[in-house]
Symmetry: D2
């Protein structure tokens, strides 16, 4: 193994730099192997200035930093890349060029750190003969084949800290605080942060919710003298009668476009429960900033494990965490279906056992 490449794709996740650092340190310490960094995802393979040599010096001090030193601004999919030709936007398949560039750069392995979308590209490139190894990256924890990915713990920590902050104001000022968290399709962040933060209501995409049990929970608390409640809602949570309400364009427009589901829930609660409500949308605060110790630790292990796969030329595989062990799984198997909260699982049961309202 003389030379490996690494690129980071998709949205930001704390721990990307820790992966890059581990790859560079492991490759150079173990094998004296060169590492080529590819800028801005796959885009860097299409650009003459898109690569840089990564040495242990290049990765000094990046372990605790959020973001990625390789950048990930362009989310171009090489199988369907948008370009402007003669003033018209057209979609091109430049995957052959990418495969060729990986070859030209002399990469024995290309380590791709990315989420669902990026890993799908990875599989297709592998099928075209490229020597790829995958590292899972998803804030939402929605990738099969690993118990968890780096970035998730940081997001949950940030979200829990936010719930803590809202708690004191809620209690002192008799308010219902709604906090909208990340998770378009998977409710892991909201469920874990909601439990860790002591939320009274937790709404996730996997459980279409009704308002009745929510109102009931809040009013039951008010009757017990607790004139405040915390509602943690995933951005992708939807009311059961979703179609009807979210497209309704009568006298009161209530599309999530005008404020998201958090806003919507807050307005409904304010109206029915006669309590002041406030909404906080955490948004990008969950994605940035220094990774937690856990995420640095996991990302470092993923990076070193990816180099080991590269050394074994075990291409087409993804590294993952199972229990306390690092494992590897065939990329195709991983992508068959996304990971979702198990509605019959112990965590959901724990939430119910604690008396938390899940909106159903």
């Amino acid at each position: 193994m003389d030379r490996i490449g690494i690129l980071t794709g998709g949205g930001d996740a704390p721990g990307l730099n820790a992966v890059i650092r581990a790859v560079v340190k492991a490759a150079s310490t173990l094998f004296g192997c060169e590492v080529i960094g590819i800028r801005q995802g796959f885009e860097g393979l299409l650009d003459l200035n898109g690569t840089l040599l990564l040495t242990p010096d290049s990765v000094r001090g990046i372990l605790p930093r959020g973001g990625t030193i390789l950048g990930a601004a362009n989310r171009g999919n090489p199988f369907a890349r948008r370009v402007i030709r003669d003033g018209v936007e057209v979609i091109e398949d430049v995957s052959d060029l990418v495969v060729q560039r990986i070859h030209e750069l002399g990469l024995d392995t290309l380590i791709v750190v990315g989420g669902d979308g990026t890993l799908r590209i990875c599989v297709e490139l592998f099928e075209k003969g490229s020597p790829v190894v995958g590292v899972p990256k998803t804030i939402d924890n929605d990738i099969q084949g690993t118990d968890v990915t780096f970035g998730f713990d940081t997001a949950v920590s940030m979200a829990t800290e936010a719930i803590d902050r809202l708690h004191t104001t809620a209690e002192s000022h008799h308010r219902v605080m709604v906090v909208e968290l990340m998770g378009r399709n998977a409710g892991f962040i909201t469920l874990e942060a909601g439990l860790a933060g002591g939320a009274d209501v937790i709404l996730i995409p996997e459980i279409p919710f009704c308002f009745e049990p929510i109102f009931e929970k809040i009013q039951e608390r008010a009757r017990a003298g607790r004139y405040f409640s915390i509602i943690a809602v995933a951005e992708g949570a939807r009311p059961k009668d979703h179609e009807q309400i979210f497209r309704m364009e009568g006298d009161k427009i209530r599309s999530p476009r005008l404020g998201g589901i958090g806003q919507y829930v807050a307005e409904e609660v304010a109206q029915t429960c006669a309590l002041e409500t406030r909404v906080t949308v955490l948004g990008h605060l969950q994605r940035g900033g220094p990774p937690t110790a856990f995420d640095r630790w996991l990302a470092t292990r993923f990076g070193a494990a990816a180099v080991r796969l590269a050394a074994e030329r075990k291409h087409g595989y993804l590294v993952g965490l199972h229990g306390t062990e690092i494992v590897d799984i065939r990329l195709q198997d991983v992508l068959k279906r996304p990971k979702r909260v198990d509605l019959d699982g112990e965590v959901i049961r724990t939430a119910r056992d604690l008396g938390i309202c899940l909106g159903n």
Copy 2:
């Protein structure tokens, strides 16, 4: 001095509990004096169950906690209190009743912890003969007579940490991050957090802004290879041509009702600079949570100083910080005009010296 009362009014501010604790500890340690806590602001004086005896035991462990154990849910102004009579909301002046209750409760002094609005009520009660002492409380730092109040440092810290988090994503993903901070009329939080967080553009209510210099700053950075920028904007910042744009209701509605000034700025920047933008509205995250060490320290000193004023029967005064000293100022003098960022001052000059765009 046998008995003093304390109430907290208005919005939440980290440090309220530290004031309460210091008042109780100082009053009981120094004078063996009883302290009566009044719940929910002035409202607690109108309610038979609105008061409680505060002992050193009642205030154990509250120093590091946000919120207020006395509550401040009802913002009723006793000079103009909203009540429902025969199904109709009417405004009543119950200030005489409040004055009478202060007397009936045997309070030698009533310590009132509150912002501009609450302190105005305080002055009026003083003029009616009530023995009040004020402690300033404002997240926004907009009260004259004190260099700073508790809660402000916590708000600035939280806002700066948020800017730090957004920074890494902005840089890695080539985005313009807009963060909307508290401050309807005063830009102190935004100015201090913007400087501490390294914002490129800072927009405050005291400086009506133009978009041209903002676009220019962002494009200048992009030309230098920095395809990202951070814009810190106070919720009360407004474009110079405010009237025209914010009331415009043509084909594109742009009222701040639909997303606030942060959203508005982000959309304009996205359109003109052709960069991806994201908005984060911190909102109540700035108000809650544990006070910083500085805020606990200041709140504790304010509380002890208020008890000293009570002991000297120096009513009608407000405690404040001047440099390293605790001072007291006549309440009337304090409220003559609100505190605003000094546009000719050193801080604004420092911002300009560093090349920060202030929108003018």
Copy 3:
């Protein structure tokens, strides 16, 4: 199930309150079952005032707090309790009394939250017929039968943050910073925090260390222009020639009594490498303070799972985490041998792959 008891034993661990809260909430929500809290570990069963009824109101607001509301000050082992009789300290076996009191209190189940020592008592009480269920608690992560316990993540986070803080000073001021972390017999905290914090040298109890490779690592870095290094050392780490040096009492006393292993390592490095060194002993900072989101989440799941075991009358079992699942294991099986860092495992290999010196 009418009534269950709960006690916390042994040293402090962030998350104890989260377990208590979950037990109370789950027991009362699910079964309308009473929960009796036992103060100060098993000691509370021997004292007439040693118990209190725990209601959902008793556990309000304790989720984010370190420590334990039940106390754990007395580490008395009922099988060998120290008492003073006629001025002489004697050891008594009061276990029969404990068994009897559990019966008298009408506890259908006693949930015991504790570490290795407390769980051993638990097994013996179970063998005497007491209906016990165990919840593992160890900062050090040295209990078999669970991937990890609550408190560990908080300790690692705190330790990593400390390493981060020392890093900047080390780099700016050309120093070797030695940080001594918890772990008398198990090196998990030091290994994980060392990796997450980017330590150059990691010394754990499982690997008796030699000084030569440590000096070599530090000097190699200095030759590369990095005149600073970070050494993370577990309090229980020992040099290979341990017997000789640690008992040596010649002209220079070097027993760990006079400063611990961190101090010892720092002095040796200073002498041989001619670099300034500084030692920081984190000590109890790793045990206190608010639990991380992960620890609150895990502790909450453990508490709810313990109540489920109680409901199934599955006594003599311990709850644990395997991968993403909560499991239960027979207490006897768990205590056969303690958990230690696997020297042939992937984590140790990752540390080596990154070029970290492990002292061998």
Copy 4:
């Protein structure tokens, strides 16, 4: 003004990088003026490779980082520099060389960021004709002429957080926790963190302490059912009968060499009060890590103000904070006497009013 230099001297303080960044940004934005960074304090002026050109690019991203990019490893005093000549250490005065180098480098102004020692050198160089401007830097807050310096707030925040962490364990496990904080001669950190953290006993260098009132305070708390206490002690605090005890070398050596004053206090308390005690020495944790928002803000203002002084050629002055204003003071005036806690001041009075034991 064509070219200014900057160096950082003495121990670490969070905010040094923020000063450097502000100087570079202000100098280049305002005047197109070059900035030369001098490495490792005054030592960089004696070394051919000791300087580097600082551009806005050099200071990107350093605002939130602890340490100093210029280094401060060598504390050499040019008026008394230790060198090895013919195998013998001799003290040389190389101040003329330093003055000459400042001239040769064409520095219109040299901005020196340092504490008491470094600023004294600064005055002497100014008296020899060098164009120096000072920026005060002291974790301990012991420099006259400024209300506070950067780094102090970070140190107090860290110390307060540590006290918070120890609090929960103290309370749950019935312990007296002693935390030893920085401050050899000035007690500001310990006093402020002690008050902010709710310490029961605060011991500072300015007040030689007796053990009697300390024991009394702890026992009074135990009698009231609080079997725990927090003692914050400055590293420079000393018992009144200091001479006798600290030099005593009888059968029991108790010199601070063997563990510092914290250890000493803990042992005395354990012996007399029959309570378990634990000591934590924060040490360098107070000096490192990211500066708080306040410290970044203050350091940034200091840096910009120093450039303004440079532009006005107002040499021999120090920038400082008075209230909300940045001021400048003649260096000579500042160094006449160090700053100490005012024993008749309001803060000490507040501590007493709250019932805190100050050891006298």
